[in-house]
């Protein structure tokens, strides 16, 4: 496979605040023209990282690169940022405000007007141009915020919880728009708790917990790595025959009856048993209808990974306690 072109890279980022470490040696790289899911529980350090990318704060150590160039003020105009805490000037008119934000991003008045006309038409909101923000509903304001994030055709889009506050219809609209933007060349960093949408649209992910990156890579590979040699087997025949077909090397996790002599079972292979061997033995006793590897959902992976880290941490603490006791 050809080496991917990397649009964004962060190397060994450390960010400390007075009482805690927000980011501890975090590195991520985001391939060009992909959607990158930045995941993690609340307070993990996602927003800190996003603010560093937006140059709202600076890291204590580590470097950030865009297109191989060290991050600098010029990059502001190629980044579009939709923060989690977002809003608009309530007393300002919609159009005026969008023009203002566009110019702050470095667009000329003319460019801004052309781009905004396009987006306002697309989202069917051109009638709101002269309305004040305070007259709009929350959902309407969200649309405008999304537009002001993408209006300057940013190469890098950073969306922090973009779906919060949207109804399912608008949420879908935005989701499709994000995908379209990627297909047109944009690179997207998406921070969200919504694992469903991660699975749906992300290409790569990084999971941050307790200021460290604990998981990362292509979403498929991550999922593979969490798959635990479990298979769903649908078969017709006798349950007892199924259970007795193979003597060792597997465990039954779950079994459901679908119809008369028709079952679905989740089995886990253990002791280095291979699927082929298992199936060979099984085929003589029941009629196998389908075999599927069990792939965990992102939700499961998220919870699993964070619990694993917690366990590991507790073990470490126990170990240090023990050594202290020994001393």
């Amino acid at each position: 496979m050809q080496e991917e072109e990397i649009l964004f890279r962060a190397d060994n980022i450390v960010k400390k605040y007075a009482n805690h470490i927000a980011l501890n040696d975090v590195s991520i790289s985001v391939p060009k023209q992909s959607i990158f899911g930045l995941l993690g529980p609340n307070g993990a350090g996602k927003t800190s990282l996003i603010r560093i990318i937006n140059q709202i704060t600076a890291p204590d150590s580590g470097n950030v690169y865009i297109n191989g160039e060290k991050l600098n003020r010029e990059h502001v105009s190629i980044i579009g940022y939709l923060p989690e805490e977002r809003g608009l000037y309530k007393k300002m008119k919609v159009g005026e405000q969008a023009m203002y934000l566009a110019q702050l991003k470095g667009m000329s008045k003319k460019e801004a007007k052309t781009s905004l006309d396009y987006w306002f038409k697309k989202f069917e909101i051109d009638a709101w141009w002269n309305k004040k923000v305070e007259e709009l509903s929350k959902g309407m304001a969200q649309k405008i915020q999304f537009i002001t994030t993408v209006m300057h055709k940013p190469q890098l889009l950073i969306l922090d919880e973009p779906f919060s506050g949207f109804d399912p219809i608008n949420s879908n609209l935005v989701k499709n728009e994000i995908k379209k933007l990627r297909d047109e060349g944009a690179t997207v960093i998406l921070s969200t708790h919504n694992m469903g949408s991660v699975e749906e649209i992300c290409d790569d992910i990084a999971l941050i917990n307790n200021s460290r990156k604990i998981l990362g890579g292509k979403i498929k590979e991550v999922k593979e790595s969490f798959a635990k040699d479990q298979y769903t087997i649908e078969f017709k025949g006798n349950v007892v025959a199924f259970a007795n077909a193979v003597w060792g090397g597997w465990e039954l996790i779950e079994r459901t009856q679908i119809g008369e002599h028709h079952f679905k079972a989740i089995v886990k292979l253990v002791g280095g048993n291979s699927l082929n061997n298992y199936l060979k033995a099984l085929l003589d006793h029941v009629e196998v209808l389908s075999v599927n590897k069990v792939i965990p959902s992102m939700n499961d992976i998220f919870i699993q990974a964070i619990e694993d880290q917690k366990l590991q941490k507790e073990n470490n603490i126990n170990l240090t306690n023990k050594t202290e006791e020994n001393e």
Binding site: Y17, I56, G87, Y89, K90, L104
Partner: protein
């Protein structure tokens, strides 16, 4: 740089377009013009026609009184010698004196009092002026009235009678009229401050008062617009737009853009006021107010009085009282160095505003709502209020040590220095002024720097009750 320009532009235009701004800008000059006109009107009480019935038991003085009054011999000659510009000249036309002819028939004051009420001939008289026979010894004349006459009328009558009696009795003392005029000339106490080889006229309190008015304006503007800066920051924070904006511009640019934008709003308002007040007082007032009451006219008059005063002419002390108000106008128009005064005003306005505005921005960034601002507002507003109080006291003694110190300390100098500068007429304040300006500049750079540090952390902090300790930590981030 162009981005900070955009921010300044937005802050400016969004405020200038507000209804409240337009209303304030128009209403304040109109109100102050109304007050000014009102003050002049009240300060110059209306002179009513007055008919005086003179009951002269001596039988000699009444003719002199009527003659002196008709020919306007007394007041102009003794007071200013210039009839045309004398605001009191018209009194001669307003007052008429009539002799009580029944005196010849042996009647006197008691009869006059009855006639004064009942007799058709004397009914229209307003007061009875009774001169008893022994006037030259008793020195008492009586005035009976139906309605209280104005103080001005009383002064006038007193003066008229006094001088008429004196002139009438000259022959008793072998004094010629010329000698009398010479004796009557009074000295004028013209006090002049001598220091640093500079002679300073001491209408100092008035000048200090004018300076105080400027200082007060700065005080008000810092409060009004400083609070606007704070509110603006809180608004951006609670609207949650601030993070969007600082992903495009630096927090420092956003903060300075806001402070400077609002400063221009303040300056716009100030110049609008100056222009509107100017137009109102020069164009509108003369149409509304009769000439002799208009401030311009009175100030003009005052100048000539001033000149005549300097060449040694007399001024009656009673009349001086009525001129107190006019002296202010005279100082305003003739003795205030407007150009340099305005420059000093602008400098200290901008300097003081930037100093306090940046602190207000820092406060706004540290809180979630206006109700949380109090604990931080107090230490910021205290020196300003202190400066205001010091200045009020300093009007009487503008160069007292505390005034000198407070005009150097940057937290108080924007108000106090204006009083001192104006009191001294801008004279002899070289190093004093320069040092104060220098300190102000240094300090506002320092506070802006500190405020920016608090600001950039504060604007992204939500839902946290901030303490001073916390703010101190932010300085180190």
């Amino acid at each position: 740089m162009s981005k900070i320009g955009l921010i300044i532009g937005r802050e400016y235009s969004s405020r200038v377009k507000k209804k409240s701004f337009i209303v304030m800008t128009i209403l304040v000059p109109i109100l102050s013009a109304v007050f000014l006109i009102g003050a002049v009107y009240l300060g110059t009480p209306e002179v009513k026609d007055l008919k005086v019935l003179v009951v002269d038991d001596t039988g000699i003085i009444v003719d002199d009184i009527i003659d002196n009054q008709k020919n306007n011999k007394i007041i102009p000659k003794t007071a200013h010698g210039n009839i045309v510009d004398d605001p009191d000249a018209h009194l001669n036309e307003k007052y008429t004196f009539q002799e009580y002819e029944e005196v010849a028939n042996g009647k006197s004051a008691d009869d006059a009092k009855i006639d004064f009420v009942e007799n058709e001939k004397y009914k229209d008289c307003d007061v009875i002026l009774y001169i008893p026979k022994n006037i030259t010894y008793s020195k008492v004349v009586k005035l009976y009235y139906k309605e209280t006459p104005s103080p001005k009328a009383l002064t006038y009558i007193n003066l008229l009678v006094n001088e008429s009696i004196e002139i009438a009795s000259l022959s008793n003392y072998n004094i010629t009229k010329e000698d009398y005029q010479e004796i009557k000339k009074k000295i004028t106490l013209h006090s002049i401050l001598y220091s640093d080889k500079d002679e300073k006229d001491t209408r100092t309190a008035i000048k200090a008062g004018i300076g105080f008015a400027f200082g007060l304006m700065i005080y008000m503007f810092i409060f009004l617009y400083g609070v606007q800066v704070m509110k603006g920051v809180i608004e951006e924070k609670t609207n949650r737009i601030v993070e969007v904006i600082i992903s495009s511009v630096k927090p420092f640019e956003l903060m300075m853009g806001k402070i400077i934008g609002i400063m221009f709003v303040g300056l716009t308002q100030f110049f609008m006021w100056v222009v509107l007040i100017g137009v109102l007082t020069t164009v509108v007032v003369p149409f509304v107010v009769p000439d002799e009451y208009s401030p311009m006219f009175q100030a003009g008059t005052q100048t000539e009085i001033q000149t005549s005063q300097e060449v040694g002419a007399m001024i009656e002390p009673e009349l001086q009282n009525t001129m107190q108000g006019n002296e202010l106008l005279d100082v305003l128009i003739n003795e205030t160095p407007w150009a340099s005064m305005l420059l000093v005003f602008l400098f200290f306005f901008i300097g003081g505003y930037l100093l306090y505005g940046s602190l207000m921005a820092a406060i706004g960034s540290a809180v979630d709502s206006e109700t949380d601002t109090q604990q931080f507002m107090l230490p910021v507003t205290m020196p300003l209020v202190f400066a205001y109080l010091i200045s009020i006291m300093g009007i009487q003694d503008p160069d007292s040590p505390i005034m000198v110190w407070c005009s150097q300390i940057p937290f108080t100098s924007p108000v106090v220095m204006l009083v001192r500068y104006s009191a001294n007429g801008g004279v002899g304040m070289g190093w004093d002024l320069v040092l104060s300006m220098f300190l102000l500049v240094i300090t506002f750079i320092a506070t802006t720097w500190l405020a920016a540090k608090i600001y950039r952390t504060g604007i992204l902090m939500y839902g946290k009750k901030v303490t001073y300790k916390e703010l101190f930590k932010w300085l180190k981030y």
